[in-house]
Symmetry: C2
Subunit: 125 residues, 2 copies
């Protein structure tokens, strides 16, 4: 089975609430995660909410990373979606979990854009 991409949804718990509420820190961690995994950063868009919480996305050549934080719960919803074979999304995910000082996390990987051979042509199904 061939897929265009791999998409990790991570539920990250017991994080440092001060980090989760720090716009600059969250943005830096997400961009660094992309770079450390070998991705090429294309666009960065983050937003700080009042009274608390940060949302943001890093668009990479290989797809995107996204985060939404709830400092009051010590919780972050993290996505890492990569296409191609050069970037391992788990490298980025594990880095984020570590940098948020999470006590625990659960994550699942979903294949995106699974390709099947159909006579002489390849199509996404």
């Amino acid at each position: 089975m061939n897929a265009l991409g791999r998409h990790i949804l991570a539920e990250v718990h017991g994080c440092d609430s001060e980090i989760l509420n720090d716009h600059a820190a969250v943005e830096q961690i997400m961009v660094s995660a992309a770079l450390k995994a070998g991705a090429e950063v294309r666009e960065v868009a983050f937003h700080k909410f009042s009274p608390q919480g940060v949302s943001g996305v890093v668009v990479i050549s290989e797809s995107h990373l996204a985060v939404h934080t709830w400092p009051e719960h010590g919780y972050a919803a993290v996505d890492v979606f990569t296409c191609g074979d050069t970037v391992n999304p788990w490298d980025a995910c594990n880095y984020i979990v570590e940098q948020f000082r999470a006590q625990n996390f659960s994550a699942s990987e979903t294949l995106r854009g699974v390709l099947v051979e159909n006579s002489n042509q390849k199509a996404a199904v």
Copy 2:
């Protein structure tokens, strides 16, 4: 069971390849999808790839919408993640599918940030 958010991953197939390769059209469709679902748009970041394909994200107060297109396969990977009760992510998802003129799609919804009552406090687990 209480959750902070709902996250739809949609595999959208048989789309109009010209639309999928049109940076402005894809961006407009994604922003319109957010607005039509009643979301508040905070940040928009899109990128056109060479020779083809568009990636982009709309950060909303209620989380985000993301898209990655492969015009050569008529395929788009679409995410709609919303928190709170005011926005129905399926409204945005169905609008995008329609606007991409998709022949078919499959989608799954995942709950994010499931909360459990733990003695006198509520925590994300």
